[in-house]
Amino acid sequence: MASQNGQTEELDRVTIRFAGDSGDGMQLAGLQFTNTSAVFGNDVSTLPDFPAEIRAPAGSLPGVSSFQVSFSSYDIYTPGDAPDVLVAMNPAALKANLGDLPKGGTIIVNSDEFTEANLKKADYQESPLEDGSLAGYRLVRVPVTTLNASALKDSGLAGQQIDRSKNFFALGLMFWLYERPFEPTIGWIEDKFSKNPVVARANATTLKAGYYFGETAELFPVHYRVPRAHLAPGRYRNITGNEATALGFLTASKLAGKPLFYASYPITPASDILGELARFKNFGVKTLQAEDEIAAIGAAIGASFGGQLALTGTSGPGLALKSEGLGLAVMTELPLVVAHIQRSGPSTGMPTKTEQTDLLQVMFGRNGESPVAVVAPATPSECFEMAIEAFRIATKYMTPVVFLSDGYLGSGSEPWLIPSLDRLPKIEIKYAADPETFKPYARDPETLARPWAIPGTAGLEHRIGGLEKSDVVGNVSYDAENHWRMVQYRAEKIARIARDIPDVEVNGDQEGDLLVLGWGSTFGAILTAVQRARSAGLSVSSAHIRHLNPFPENLRDVLSRFRQVLIPELNLGQLRMLIRSRYLVDAQGLNRVTGRPFKTIEIETKIKELVGQEVRVG
């Protein structure tokens, strides 16, 4: 759309944070802005941040919900360290987010909500709009509540209902400010509220009202254009990590030609996966909402025994409850995938906040020597392929595999290059069938996998269980040497997966002063920090591990080619402990546990500290 007034300025990247009360619809506004920007052709990256409480007291600081979206004309890997623009729908949203906004940044406030009562709820003595405390920022006051109400006075909705549409007014205004089309959101509204045309019409009306208000009000001397990014050719959609995870597991089932069975107990932030998979019944997917975490993994193990692609999912303390079930799957050598979407701990912790604090639990948190394979996606869209990879490994090696994601990956989103199905490799699965040769614990000489012999196969009747089994034959065994042999088989089987996974790639020079090594959702911040350090002339490279157990075979070699190794993690040094003990490398850590992802600058500063040169500012 062409500009009707004022000037247009071109920017290559903008980061906006929508913030309001958790009932204000900020997640929705942020997501619509993201989708529209993605469809428009920008690269996008998002960081939703919301309280665990469904409705904390309205207007209070704990009730603030925010959604940060960064959109750009070039490839970006993070949602931005800090917003350029803060949209604050009430005083609490301003107070909770102002600290993240750099001086000179733009604040757009819903000035109607800065009432005495609301100021008090946010612990403001005086209105920040009046006391000069925002002098260092560009403050734009918009009476959103009033403007929304007047736009909808003939909508047929009551006052409170009208007020609920005000996020669309704010969204419309932001669409104008950044030259985004409102049509995709209108289409979404019509679809979403198809059963309630009055509400649909109201939302569309106020969205447009917000847009036209921007055009005519002359509050903004310029508006901005962020041109399309040069992404790889192909068809795209915007996708969250949890959506990609669900699609990946579903696709694995198609590639394997076996039904998917998902048993799970609702837990933030993994519940979305159950919700997604429950929609896919016409793909033959069966989902079971279990009575608890233990039953969920139990049902998945039962389904695996029956020959299904069996999956369970959890988060936080749910993994602790699944430990014994995981041990059973290790002992019975059944294929099983556990999707663990990490969140802040210990205990209940901060359910909606992200962390990488469960790596060692996943690796070692079971009784006995109980190895499992572990894969970890690095980006929201990569959740798709790593979900497929988890099932490939589980079924080929007859082992449980933990798919280790986190809340930031799960709820964050980015453009996803829609894959072409015929390019994805099939997952070959062969159940045992021959009664003449069948032995429950005979092993494939290459993979050490035992046969998958499923009930219903005549002549293969056999018994498995949690008691130690004799090699090959599979009867209960307390024999000392047999146990030692089986312990080694179980370890060796996981170790051999290393032959079957890609090498870890080094971004940047293949040797140098510093390697920044990461895993999981820190990918974007690490890559961006390393890119900046490299363009400042520092000898820094990065590598990101997707297979955490076993590690890629070339990792030892990669580590040996750098004078120093830095491992940034959202924990107290869990990968670092593994790397140091495995490779005797004196890796340094950058560790923060705040419930929030790393900022690029934090990693960049640490790089500078280690390689001893100035970081170029800007």
């Binding site: 989708n35 993605a38 469809v39 052709g41 040069h230 790889a232 050719p233 192909g234 068809r235 795209y236 959609r237 915007n238 699609l247 579903l250 696709t251 198609k254 039904p259 069975f261 048993a263 896919f280 019944k281 016409n282 793909f283 033959g284 069966k286 079971l288 279990a290 009575e291 233990i294 039953a295 139990g298 049902a299 193990i301 039962g302 389904a303 695996s304 025994f305 029956g306 020959g307 299904q308 069996a310 079930g325 041990g327 059973l328 829609i418 894959p419 199905l421 009930p455 219903g456 196969t457 005549a458 293969l460 009747e461 056999h462 018994r463 498995i464 269980g465 949690g466 008691l467 209960v476």
Partner: protein
């Protein structure tokens, strides 16, 4: 497919049975093996799933598919198997500790969901495998290793629990009445939905004669009453006593005194579980202990409903297309 007819021997595995000599578990194993050929189910379609405890060793001795799982979780594992493979005949073998203590939650939910399983709970009112601690069905005041001054836990009544959970088939039998046991298991196997069978089972070593006060052959006819659908609850060597209801309270009446007007007639098909609950509360020595089928009602099973949803979704939406799903919502194309 295995060839039918099979015999009991076809269901005996090559594993040496390792229960204590004289354990009631032997009898339950034998009757289960005996019953199998009569069910006309191919052997490869039968799966025994157990938890932990003496009873839970049973799958190793059955020449079928078997899964000796972890403590208390057999109902969950069986639910996953049955839900994904409804054509299988799935049995859950559990005990009073496994099923009602550590696994109480799963037992509740498997019964309310009406998953088509046969659940056999061996109730010996003691922890045997761990050598004699009290269990959730141990009588109040029981002296064991871990309750030297007597237990202070009120016991749970397994059948009342099953009724509360909404089980559609509920029965009780005795390890030492083999005919009754095999008949009860047969009824359970043929029921469509969750079948819950409590078997009073004697633990010779840690809780001997726990049930002998009413289950021994010499006193059984006087101190137990057989439940038969459509018939009055008549018992006693001379078949001279019966049960009648006084409000919601059962009473023993002497038929010789001419009382036969409004005897309680057993109706196992009654949807309302109140009567079954009243019967489950009848305990020795105040009452004869009811044996047989307390409740047998029909309703759609969990796995049927799950399958129906999948079928309906396919009818309504067609076979799922990944391509269409991938491209859901807004998409855009970047030209090469």
């Amino acid at each position: 497919m295995t060839t039918i007819p099979l015999t009991r021997k076809d269901f005996v595995s090559d594993q040496e049975v390792r229960w204590c000599p004289g354990c009631g578990d032997y009898s339950i194993l034998t009757q289960t093996q005996k019953l199998m050929p009569d069910l006309d189910i191919p052997r490869e379609n039968i799966v025994f799933i157990s938890g932990i405890g003496c009873s839970s060793r049973l799958p190793y001795y059955m020449n079928t598919y078997g899964f000796h799982t972890i403590h208390g979780r057999a109902p969950a594992i069986a639910t996953g198997l049955k839900a994904s493979r409804p054509e299988l005949s799935v049995w859950v073998i559990t005990g009073d500790g496994d099923g009602l203590s550590i696994g109480g939650n799963h037992l509740l939910h498997v019964m309310r969901r009406n998953v088509d399983l046969v659940i056999v709970l061996f109730n010996n009112r003691i922890y045997g495998l761990t050598k004699g601690q009290y269990s959730p069905t141990s009588e109040l005041g029981k002296i064991t290793k871990t309750s030297p001054l007597g237990t202070i836990d009120y016991p749970v009544n397994p059948l009342s629990f099953a009724i509360g959970a909404g089980a559609t088939f509920i029965a009780r039998s005795l390890d030492n009445d083999t005919k009754h046991l095999v008949d009860t298991l047969d009824r359970a196997a043929k029921h469509h939905g969750t079948s819950f069978v409590e078997v009073y089972q004697n633990c010779l070593v840690y809780n001997d004669q726990a049930f002998s006060g009413f289950a021994d052959k010499s006193v059984r006819t006087d101190r137990t009453v057989q439940l038969e659908h459509g018939k009055p609850l008549i018992f006693g060597k001379e078949q001279d006593r019966a049960i009648k209801l006084n409000g919601t309270r059962p009473e023993v009446v002497d038929l010789r005194s001419g009382e036969d007007g409004d005897l309680l007639i057993h109706d196992e098909r009654r949807d309302d579980p109140t009567m079954a609950f009243i019967l489950a509360q009848m305990e020795h020595p105040e009452f004869p202990v009811p044996l047989g089928v307390f409740r047998a009602v029909e309703r759609p099973t969990y796995e049927e409903l799950m399958d129906r949803q999948v079928r309906d979704a396919i009818t309504r939406q067609g076979d799922g297309s990944l391509e269409a799903l991938f491209a859901e919502g807004d998409t855009w194309t970047v030209e090469g």
